[in-house]
Symmetry: C2
Subunit: 368 residues, 2 copies
């Protein structure tokens, strides 16, 4: 399939009985792949951010749950599955995709529970494969739907990395940009560097440059200047969890972009698969916000940037109220206000799609 | 004088015939002092940001102009002065204090021009001393005026470094905080780290910790989150140039804070001496905005943070329109909208003060 944006890059995939995962902490300097064959390693990779991005975390967690059955063990398949699930569920709190993936793996486990250990293991690995394949297909649908929102010859601003590296491949926010480029549109990207982890400078710039899509890096504090000067036609970001009313948790700094977009009359789009919508959360107040270690702010590349003894806050996500969001681009179409109705409908369409595809074999519903 | 905030720290001062200047690029790791005895070295220190902060740049430029007369030379005092002035005027474009200081030194030169070379040199050095002393006195008046705006037991957010290190001593925005602390108020500070130079993490944290004022560092993208959660009672920032209508150029990221403050109903204060007001600029559109090298964004502490070949924008300042500014705290009182009138009045009071103090000897008008 021609995407106008190079060959599909998959930052995590199964190879035999193990998960191969690109260690994103070392990009763009080094491209190191981890081979993980037990749930503990996968949970650690999620917690320590070797893999990050809500959809990618979901896919990694699915493989982590599947790997619970690997090798000889003294405890029962159920005990092994439950232990892995608990471990993975505690790795990071904000992205709902992780919990959705574990829930789906648990459903599959129940279907398989009466079978031989080997059948359970194979079935779980295939289910994780299906989640990965469907995630890529979801991203492509997000890209196709969102492409219409971007005009050729314009500059789009994005934050953090909601790209191929944040998913099983192709990306959500960057999927929308790739979708527009695939339609032949010329798009320039301004990428917020996204402190403290610099996902924008390290990852978004890396994968867009790889695809030949023009990208320039900004410090996070510069976005407002470019918005106020009319240099940005649209903002597109990803999401870690979308509440039923449209309030959206995403990487810290997203709320600020929403406020700046509204103030400057620039459209602000969120791009995410329907699995990111959490109807159990009526609004953003119910979304848990992860606070991480102060040390992750106080040093860069091992070098201290602040005086000894001074502390930092490290809030990893923020919530952008729905009123700042022009539209939410999902794999089930574009949702607009009132979001209660449009998001619920998207979730329903996703459930129907899954039910319709369930009999046709893992990963085959949507071509890659 | 008890400031409630430790002994006065002076980041640049004269020692005999040379300027001693703390190299702020190496803080907080190393405290290295430069000894500069010619205009070229001072211009380089300004351009390369060994010294930064609008008032401190003005003081440094004044000393740079005075040092033009140092040592034996083949050209006339006037030629030497003019060459130094041109060199210094080209060091950085945005902060108006630099031009105001050079203008004042030029006036003093005209008064001295008919005298012996030694008299000219001594006169210029004393004028630079006066500018430095008056800057500290200005900061103290800013602090005393602004202290009333902050309530005890609250958290104040600041951006970049508008502290002792950005002035001849005491600070503007941090002067307001020091003024409140001197009145016995308990103030906690959230300091934006302020990429790309990290003046907040490196300098603001350093000087507040030194004074025992509680400070925590945020990445620039976190300010919005804390504002939206009601955790910030006020924002106080410095200024590099204030147009006649109140539009204010300050470190990149300040505009964003102004927008966030308005959106969340939090007061947004600018603190600066009246020399920062440029009545020749009717509004922010007339303020030149410096764009610096991409490389200063693309590496931190010598370590690349982005893929090779990718560029960055490095806009060093932005303009906050007056409508976002609750008040401008000057050494001539607190200015409020309509700013055209209040700022012009402050400039007039400053001129009267200078005229009244002109006969009483350099630096003696305001006690340190």
């Amino acid at each position: 399939m021609s995407t106008g944006a190079g060959e599909l890059f998959r930052p995590l995939y199964r190879e035999g009985g193990a998960l191969r995962l690109l260690d994103q902490r070392l990009l763009p300097g080094d491209e190191v792949w981890l081979t993980l064959d037990e749930p503990e390693g996968v949970a650690r990779a999620i917690r320590d951010m070797a893999v990050r991005g809500a959809p990618a975390i979901g896919v990694a967690a699915a493989y982590g749950a599947a790997l619970s059955q690997r090798g000889p063990g003294t405890s029962s398949p159920r005990d092994r599955f439950d232990a892995a699930r608990a471990l993975l569920a505690n790795s990071r709190p904000t992205a709902v995709n992780l919990f959705a993936a574990l829930e789906r793996m648990a459903e599959r486990f129940e279907q398989l529970a009466a079978s031989d250990a080997a059948v359970i293991e194979r079935g779980l690995l295939e289910e994780a494969d299906a989640i990965a394949s469907e995630d890529i297909a979801s991203c492509r649908r997000i890209g196709a739907a969102g492409a219409a929102l971007l005009e050729s010859g314009t500059t789009v601003l994005t934050h953090c990395n909601a790209g191929a590296l944040a998913t099983a491949g192709y990306g959500t926010a960057l999927g929308v940009i790739r979708g527009a480029v695939a339609e032949g549109k010329s798009i320039r990207v301004l990428a917020d560097e996204t402190r403290p982890y610099l996902q924008g400078a390290r990852l978004t710039a890396w994968e867009l440059a790889r695809d030949g899509i023009p990208v320039e890096i900004l410090t996070d504090s510069m976005a407002g200047h470019f918005l106020s000067r009319g240099a940005v036609a649209a903002i597109v970001v990803g999401a870690d969890r979308i509440a039923g009313n449209g309030d959206t948790a995403n990487k810290i700094g997203t709320y600020t972009l929403g406020v700046l977009a509204k103030e400057n009359g620039v459209p602000f789009y969120v791009a995410a698969p329907a699995t990111t919508i959490d109807l159990a959360c009526p609004d953003g107040a119910g979304i848990p916000i992860e606070e991480r270690a102060s040390s992750e702010v106080l040093s860069i590349g091992g070098r201290a940037i602040a005086p000894a003894g001074v502390t930092a806050r490290h809030v990893a996500f923020d919530v952008t109220p729905a009123r700042y969001i022009t539209a939410i681009v999902t794999d089930e179409g574009i949702c607009r206000a009132p979001y209660d109705a449009s998001l619920a409908a998207a979730v329903e369409r996703a459930a129907s799609r899954r039910a319709a595809g369930a009999g046709s074999g893992a990963g085959s519903t949507y071509p890659l």
